[in-house]
């Protein structure tokens, strides 16, 4: 991966700073005791249950990898996996398409306006997920405002089916993910030197060439990290797919909950959970590779 390159110097810089100043062992561990409460808490209530859950996948109902075999062999379960990835993929594409112009406009318009657009994005990000999903449920239903408006305009004769199917899930989730695209992308765009674009146009590039050959490639780090983040988050979403989707479009998180709550099949649920964690962590590793530096990394050069 070419974009991973900027991460390397930061890490080595932090490494050499540690090497230059070699404190005694006692000095080194001073203050580490402050970690104890949170470590104890997370160990007891987060790590231990997580490991316990993952173990159940290979221990219940009988030791072995039977649960994993079932997960991949059963066509209904395989469909759930396929569904999870296709929904996450669609959501990523749509939220990128919708988030890009918004992020771009924030950097272009006068500052006051940009701040307002940003406020709208933050408002939508921090208002209740459940409230917004409920709102989409009402908006999209057969007798809902959107169907009525489309029918009144004569665009459709029959109400469109937009909830309890794939359309509902994709609309609702793309809507929820837009802020997670806009925020990183906007930061990337803000950092692009406008002179580069001016240089492009002086050298004779048309606005379109300038956009596709100069601007878009410069936005790539923001697009990649935003898109990857949204894809990962979409894989693990439960509330929106459960409310806006139908029985046909079950995704992995819903499947896990169903196995636990309805069928008490902890083994299969655990296998599904292990798969979801593995995919999430691998993708998140790539996401971290895209980030320039770690928040605690360079701080010891004091």
């Amino acid at each position: 991966m070419k974009m991973a390159a900027p991460a390397a110097p930061a890490v080595s810089a932090a490494g050499s700073a540690v090497a230059q100043h070699v404190p005694s062992l006692k000095q080194r561990w001073r203050g580490a005791g402050n970690l104890a409460p949170a470590l104890l808490f997370l160990g007891l209530f987060f790590l231990a249950p997580l490991i316990g859950l993952l173990l159940r996948g290979v221990l219940e109902p009988v030791p072995g990898i039977g649960n994993y075999e079932q997960l991949f062999a059963n066509s209904a379960y395989a469909r759930v996996l396929l569904n999870t990835f296709s929904v996450a993929g669609l959501v990523t594409v749509f939220s990128l398409l919708l988030g890009f112009p918004l992020a771009w406009a924030i950097t272009l318009v006068p500052r006051g306006w940009g701040r307002w657009i940003l406020n709208i994005v933050l408002l939508s990000m921090w208002t209740s997920l459940l409230a917004r999903t409920y709102s989409w449920l009402v908006l999209l239903q057969a007798s809902g405002v959107i169907n009525k408006a489309l029918m009144a305009m004569g665009i459709i004769d029959q109400p469109l089916e937009m909830v309890h199917n794939l359309t509902g899930v994709v609309i609702g989730m793309s809507y929820i993910m837009i802020p997670f695209i806009v925020l990183p992308l906007q930061a990337t765009m803000q950092a692009i030197d406008p002179m580069i674009l001016q240089a492009g146009s002086i050298c004779g590039a048309s606005p379109w060439t300038n956009f596709f050959r100069v601007f878009l490639p410069l936005c790539r780090p923001g697009l990649a990290s935003g898109g990857l983040m949204v894809f990962v988050m979409s894989l693990g979403y439960y509330v929106t797919p459960a409310l806006l989707g139908g029985a046909q479009n079950m995704m992995l998180p819903e499947f896990i909950i169903q196995q636990v709550q309805s069928f008490l099949n902890w083994g299969l649920a655990s296998a599904g959970a292990a798969l979801l964690i593995a995919i999430t962590l691998v993708l998140f590793y790539f996401y971290l590779k895209l980030q320039p530096e770690s928040p605690v990394g360079a701080s010891n050069a004091r």
Binding site: A32, L35, G52, S135
Partner: protein
Amino acid sequence: MLLTPNAMSRRMRFGLYATTGLIGLFLLLPIVFIVLLSFGSSQWLVFPPPGWTLKWYGQFFSNPEWMSAAAASLKVAVLTTICAVALGLPTAFALVRGRFPGREMLYGLFTLPMIVPLVIIAVAVYALFLKLGYTGTMFAFVVSHVIVALPFTIISIINSLKLFDQSIEDAAVICGASRLQAVFKVTFPAIRPGMVAGALFAFLVSWDEVVLSVMMASPTLQTLPVKMWTTLRQDLTPVIAVASTLLIGLSVLVMVIAAAVRRRNEISA
């Protein structure tokens, strides 16, 4: 300005602004819609409503189930906030000031609950509390919420602690304060923006949490989102719109407070 006026055609710019306006409206649409609907008189959520009424608010506030859910939500959120800050504060100090190896990995560990899908945390913690017989207790709610709120608190406090120059604290110690006094009287006031932001994040995360709460809930103890969730599965009554409006209202209030705190700090800085 990115594509400068001479590099960007007028049509292109107009297109961009129009698209932006539409997407901005798209972002606001469900939020504004649900607030309006909570005042609409139609039982079937007809829009635009035939009339305006406070009937649903009356139903919400006179129903003991909704009221106890709202009270439980508030209680869980406040307790979560207190615990998350109490656990996050020493952690942030250790991570920013410590010289011990493996801090990067520890930071990763503390932010892990942000990355692991909520559903998995919910199922894992549910399994634990099921064994211990703690499901449906306030303890279960608060513990599960603190797990996911903690990363937000730690990150906020780390960010402001990194901006604080430790030599100021050292100066207080040289002038005769004990280290603890210096931390409480010098460092804490200086990093207050980070602590306040961390607390507000923790509150919002807990206030809005659905998945964990649904797993922890019992018929006798449920939070507002749980009550909404179970009601939603039966019908779309406008009372849910009232509950949504209250959830949105409190989130907006917290955001405004956060913005005000930030602005005051910008001015005083």
